[in-house]
Symmetry: C2
Subunit: 335 residues, 2 copies
DNA sequence: TTGTATGCGTTATCAG
DNA sequence: CTGATAACGCATACAA
């Protein structure tokens, strides 16, 4: 009941040409006379023929597909990134096969394998969680292993290795700048709130620490659970009240705002709060959160652009690391 | 430099058996002696052999892949749904290929075609936007067309047709109940806010209208842009002030909350607001929004469950429409 | 239990 | 410009 798929022989038969000719027409070869091309094209159109992608894949060893590995889509940053990547890739005729790995190493490894087994043309890793902490290399060995089979591009994270390309935000310098701004406005007890030890988080932390310590203050990094209410509680439990908070993501920042509100603090007079990712959460909050925009669409665009350069093997010399700068979007939680 | 992919002949050669035997081992056939199985397995393990999925696909005409079509991932409901679907599908060894279609018919049609051309085993449509408005059938003809080639499952929407299966939330009845609750608490000017004419939106609207009109009040449906600030402005422009708002999604509800706050209304005393989807936006807001939970994980789980029944062609009789009930999660914007 | 031969639908090489 | 024909890697019916 599902033998309706016409193949190249059917088309050749109807059009009275060989399969080679049909193939040439389908693939837009210029070595076909206009008349035969038109004839074949008409048949294809009439019967609605589509080449079998499996057979194409078998011969060419590619299905014009890229694998996207993401820890979860249940996070606005990730889902936006995947959304952007998919759109850009489609512009070039590439489809994407998606896999959610979770944050555990075992999951990352196994899902990475699965993706690789699908003969993807390149692998995209979304999120700095794939970069490990930047110190322990065993946590990223599977990535270098993968890179032996297919080019690997990391969005918002950096892993060194052959055939591995990274696009990262300049987290360190924005956070440094923003923190310096807070200090300049008289803040003396600024907290840095994060939920992870990822590459990206560590970069933000470093920017924060440099600014704070450069001003002769002491850094105060607090690790919290990435949950609004948990953050609120953690802050409420603190002994001395902060007058500034830099959060590693907007979700945490929302928790911080809720803490400040419930503590009766006036924002941004008593306390300034800055989020990260400039997601819809920042706008949903009341007051609306000033958040650092890490330019997800641009970074995704650039990534795909570089992927295509790589795939097409044009002369373009690809650098292994691309840095994109971020900036603070000023709203109601900072002055 | 990339001829390293071993094939079944290589394995057969090393193990000193025929390719048929290797194939049997790989596919777990029971017609292989334990000794040869062990021998082959060891070779496979040693050299790290993986069957070529294209060749498998060519013969079997399947790559154990399902296509997921979604308007956008830049929406918490959609991204959560895709996240859930992907996880469930992977449990059964199915990978998913993702496509974002946008909300325009042309995009839906073309992306649907692309997915189909990849020889997916089944197609999942996420979101009621694919159900059109439930009236104009031309807007869903491409779905019926697709269903001729592969089973189609719709998450949170309904389209009638052969080989099309739908899972929907009982939006009508929850909204009816919730609205009745507001009326019972003395609300007399309840607004229904929506941004679309989708199947789902229309169902919610109907539930609202029935409750309101059943109580002798007049329905007041306002179409707004799905943007927090736009919603806020639309409400501010209204001539008479509502004392209750039912929003078709949490984003709109956030806008409603911002309106109420800026208008100096006390929530939930002066006005009650209920959102939809029970997303993180509802929690980010201050006050936190009471929101209708449409049980995305369950609906996704059920959908995949039914897909597997369908694919395995077991005796299970699949109903074309599965209804899942929703419920209100009580927070700070309702009494 | 194991091996042999064939088909799956393309692309590509090589004659004509 | 066009047509045979050989890969591509695997599953499977058929033989042994």
């Amino acid at each position: 009941m599902k033998k309706d798929a016409l193949n190249i022989y059917d088309i050749a038969g109807i059009a009275n040409v060989s399969i080679a000719t049909v193939s040439r027409v389908v693939n837009g070869s210029d070595k076909v006379s206009e008349s035969t091309r038109a004839k074949v094209l008409k048949v294809i159109e009439d019967v609605g023929y589509t080449p079998n992608v499996f057979a194409q894949g078998l011969g060419l060893n590619t299905m014009h597909t890229v694998g996207i590995l993401v820890p979860t889509l249940d996070d606005h940053y990730m889902s936006t990134a995947v959304d952007c990547l998919e759109k850009e890739l489609k512009r070039y005729g590439y489809d994407c096969i998606l896999s959610c790995s979770g944050f555990e190493l075992s999951g990352k490894q196994s899902k990475c394998e699965m993706l690789l087994s699908k003969h993807i043309d390149t692998l995209i890793l979304v999120g700095s969680t794939y970069a490990g902490n930047g110190i322990d290399t065993f946590a990223t060995d599977y990535i270098r292993e993968a890179a032996k089979k297919v080019p690997v591009f990391i969005v918002n994270g950096n892993v060194s290795g052959d055939n591995i390309y990274a696009s990262v935000c300049d987290d360190e310098s924005v956070v440094n700048d923003v923190t310096a701004g807070l200090i300049g406005r008289g803040r003396r007890n600024i907290l840095f709130l994060t939920d992870s030890h990822s590459y990206s988080s560590n970069k933000k932390k470093k920017g924060y620490e440099e600014a704070v310590e450069g001003a002769g203050l002491t850094a105060n990094v607090v690790y919290v659970e990435n949950d609004i209410h948990a953050v609120k509680k953690s802050l409420a439990d603190l002994k001395d009240r902060p007058d500034g908070i830099i959060a590693a993501n907007d979700n945490i920042a929302v928790g911080a705002v809720k803490y400040a509100v419930s503590a009766g603090l006036s924002i941004p007079d008593d306390i300034e709060i800055v989020g990260y990712n400039n997601s819809i959460l920042a706008i949903s909050s009341t007051p609306e959160i000033s958040s650092i925009d890490n330019h997800t669409p641009e970074i995704c665009h650039d990534t795909v652009e570089r992927i295509m350069h790589n795939l097409n093997d044009d002369g373009y010399r690809l650098s292994n690391k691309l840095m994109i700068s971020c900036n603070l979007i000023q709203r109601e939680t900072t002055k």
